[in-house]
């Protein structure tokens, strides 16, 4: 057979279930204390620094990292449980999510030791926020067309150019970005980009918020003007960022956040239809739950492969493709099914307010972090078509 796709039925080990109880109890306390409202995904206060520190104090940030960097050396499956419980509760994870999922692992792999010792424990304590500087005004999906320059100077590099659609840049303490250190070669158009650690909130960096169609401001334009980055902030090989990008994708693309972004509308629909649904509602809910269950089983399977030290890039891309298309359609399917919900349903207003937000959120889900088209290209390559 050409395509060796594997999705083995990985089960979460017993210790995960204990952890899940702890996370649920913690979140229930936070909700009771008024930190956040799980029914309001569209709140303004998505940045919750104190909450972030309390999550860190629980040992739930950098869970899989070495203890010497502040981590817990726990498994990906345990991290998976924490991530999905936070997501389903609509907890305000913005401040730590990117650092925990992506930036920390990049630093562990490519940063010099003294930088790891300085920064990683702070991520684990929930103190600092990361952004990812990939897209530019003329390079989005086509990552390797990036033009923002890093020019060699005494003791480091001078950065000039603009990153865009950078989530959380307005609150971020650091950014991991790719900048151009050389021109691409004829043989390899991906050559010439280098990954850097950038300390934000300094002169030479201007962050301009960009309003989104949801009414929120979570992404930004980031303009660099002769901004100095010291030599030891280079991450990995100069000109060789392209070699470093792919292995991270499996982490980035297969997590529960890739199908749970609009999950709350399904819960609210179940509440609205009540315990004795008509046939139409029952069938609609049944199908959505079956699809959700299947994606979660696929996603857990990929987490299991990551834990086993594999790099399931194609499987992860499949999870993100199917997952994001599903979470994008979910608010519309829920809207269809909600059309005949009794006027008297007690949560009708909540459901309507949530649908309003989820429907506005939906278009971004198949764009952020690798578009559907890019993902299908990766899957096609895995099938031997490219």
């Amino acid at each position: 057979m050409t395509a060796a796709l594997r999705f083995d039925p990985i089960r979460l080990p017993e210790k995960c279930e204990q952890l899940r109880k702890e996370v649920r109890a913690f979140l229930a306390e936070e909700i009771a204390a008024g930190t956040f409202d799980p029914h309001k995904p569209n709140r303004e206060d998505t940045d919750a620094p104190e909450f972030s520190r309390r999550v860190g104090a629980k040992g739930w940030l950098g869970m899989t990292w070495p203890k010497k960097y502040g981590g817990q050396e726990r498994s990906f499956l345990e991290r998976y449980v924490v991530t999905e419980e936070m997501r389903v509760a609509n907890a305000p994870t913005r401040r730590f999510f990117v650092a925990d999922r992506q930036s920390g692992p990049v630093l562990i792999k490519y940063a010099p030791e003294h930088i790891k010792m300085e920064i990683l424990p702070r991520i684990c304590r929930g103190e600092i926020c990361f952004a990812i500087g990939m897209s530019e005004p003329n390079s989005g999906s086509d990552l390797f067309a990036a033009k923002t320059r890093a020019t060699k100077t005494d003791g480091g590099y001078l950065i000039n150019g603009t990153k865009i659609w950078t989530s959380s840049a307005h609150i971020a303490d650091y950014m991991i970005a790719i900048f151009r250190t050389s021109q691409p070669t004829k043989e390899n158009r991906r050559h010439g980009l280098t990954q850097f650690l950038v300390k934000m909130k300094q002169p030479g960096i201007q962050v301009n918020p960009i309003g989104q169609i949801t009414g929120q401001y979570e992404f930004n334009e980031v303009v660099f003007t002769d901004f100095f980055v010291p030599e030891d902030h280079v991450l990995g090989e100069v000109d060789g960022a392209w070699k470093q990008a792919t292995s991270e994708l499996a982490y980035e693309r297969s997590g529960p956040e890739r199908f749970l972004e609009t999950y709350y509308v399904l819960t609210e629909l179940v509440r609205a239809v009540g315990p004795n649904p008509d046939t139409r509602s029952a069938e609609g809910i049944g199908r959505l739950v079956a699809q959700l269950h299947t994606m979660r089983r696929m996603s857990v399977s990929v987490a299991g492969m990551l834990q086993a030290g594999k790099e399931p890039v194609v499987e992860a891309s499949i999870v993100k493709d199917i997952g994001t298309v599903w979470e994008q359609q979910l608010p519309h399917r829920v809207r269809d099914l909600a059309a005949f919900v009794e006027e008297t349903a007690t949560n009708r207003e909540t459901l309507e307010r949530q649908l309003d937000f989820a429907i506005k959120t939906a278009p971004k889900l198949t764009i952020q972090g690798g578009t559907t088209e890019v993902l299908r290209g990766i899957i096609a390559r895995g099938l031997g078509l490219r």
């Binding site: 057979m1 050409t2 395509a3 060796a4 796709l5 594997r6 999705f7 083995d8 039925p9 089960r11 979460l12 899940r20 999905e84 419980e85 389903v88 999950y263 399904l266 819960t267 609210e268 179940v270 509440r271 239809v273 315990p275 004795n276 649904p277 046939t279 509602s281 029952a282 069938e283 609609g284 809910i285 049944g286 199908r287 739950v289 079956a290 699809q291 959700l292 269950h293 299947t294 994606m295 979660r296 089983r297 696929m298 399977s301 194609v314 499987e315 499949i318 493709d321 199917i322 088209e373 993902l375 299908r376 290209g377 899957i379 096609a380 895995g382 099938l383 031997g384 078509l385 490219r386």
Partner: protein, 354 residues
């Protein structure tokens, strides 16, 4: 695809490769492949995989039997292997010894019902019974006034109205009218028709997943051979993206089906969590059969619409298997009711329970 790592699947794959090659079968207008295939499967003890040694079977694990069904799907095997396995499994629940030869199960739909009368006779009508026409015995689940019983019935005692499903396999209506079974025993406590339908549904899910794996494989291969507009059609982005979606559907079906199989193989009882797994598998695999099979046909163009090409052996069977042991619509309604009944705040705990 799942490389066989157990002896049951290895044995089966070797037999399928030798005696159930889809192209050879497709060229054989006289169905002369059927008898040798069945004989080889029987000699290897595969149709009675799920029957313990002391009841006449080969005593394979549930897990190995499920893997065997997945392999059978990859070859679109059109003999009553799954049906005989399910029948043997059903009989074994009541410690009834399995006879030799082809069997199938009654009823094959959640809507049909066979009843047990006080005089010990069985009556009722079962529609869409796979391979009834080819079977020598029926394994029957019957409702009596004291609960469920499991019976072995000689096919000559029933009336069979023969029919074909969309995959051109036998899907017959069986009527039992005061039929005396060969053997009848009470079903174990908590064993009911839903249990049987979920088990049958998972078997079909694994077969559908196997068929989709094969459809992905032959579609990728075809796209790398077929030239149009002066290049291989695999080089067109529209075709690539269609195949990527087919891979996704195939992967989803495989994940849902193997997860449900694993859940049943390790279950102590058919609780809500196993119900979620098994019902979801049937729903999701049926959806994948439609979407994935549609793409496989689109990639193949007109040649895939011919009798000569093997694609229909997979695509039509995968569609037909949707109907057996409860369609996706049936299970979606039932799962939706279960979810609604548990309540909104119990949905996530159910989904995250496994």
């Amino acid at each position: 695809m799942a490389e066989s790592d157990n002896i049951v699947v290895e044995t089966a794959e070797k037999i399928f490769a030798d005696l159930a090659d889809p192209q050879t079968i497709n060229n054989d207008k006289k169905n002369s492949w059927q008898a040798p295939l069945w004989q080889a499967l029987s000699e290897a003890g595969l149709p009675l995989s799920w029957v313990p040694d002391d009841l006449g079977g080969s005593g394979a694990s549930l897990a190995d039997g499920f893997a065997l069904l997945n392999a059978a799907g990859r070859f679109a095997v059109a003999v009553p292997l799954a049906e005989t396995m399910l029948a043997g499994w059903l009989l074994a629940q009541a410690k009834i010894t399995s006879p030799e030869g082809e069997m199938t199960v009654l009823p094959a739909s959640p809507k049909d019902r066979i009843t047990l009368a006080p005089d010990g006779s069985l009556s009722g009508r079962a529609r869409g019974v796979p391979f009834a026409k080819a079977a020598r015995h029926f394994a029957v689940l019957a409702h009596g006034k004291d609960g469920f019983s499991i019976a072995l019935v000689d096919v000559s005692k029933g009336r069979i109205e023969s029919g074909l499903n969309v995959g051109y396999d036998h899907s017959d209506t069986v009527t039992l009218d005061k039929v005396q079974p060969v053997t009848i025993k009470p079903a174990p406590k908590e064993f009911d028709q839903t249990t049987m339908m979920l088990m049958g549904g998972v078997a079909r899910s694994l077969q559908i997943a196997g068929a989709l794996e094969a459809m992905l494989d032959i579609s990728v291969r075809y796209s790398n051979e077929r030239v149009a507009f002066e290049k291989k059609i695999s080089k067109f982005q529209a075709v690539q993206h269609n195949l990527a979606r087919l891979a996704g559907e195939s992967a989803a079906a495989l994940a849902a089906a193997t997860s449900a199989a694993d859940a049943i193989a390790n279950a102590k009882s058919f609780d809500d969590e196993v119900y979620l797994e098994a019902a979801s598998a049937k729903i999701r695999c049926a959806e994948a059969a439609e979407k994935g099979g549609g793409i496989a046909h689109q990639v193949h163009g007109a040649i895939g619409f011919t009798n000569e090409h093997i694609l229909h052996r997979y695509s039509l069977r995968a569609l037909a298997w949707r109907d057996d042991f409860g369609s996706e619509s049936h299970w979606a309604v039932e799962l939706g009711k279960l979810v609604a009944n548990r309540g909104a705040d119990e949905l996530w705990p159910l989904v995250a329970s496994r």
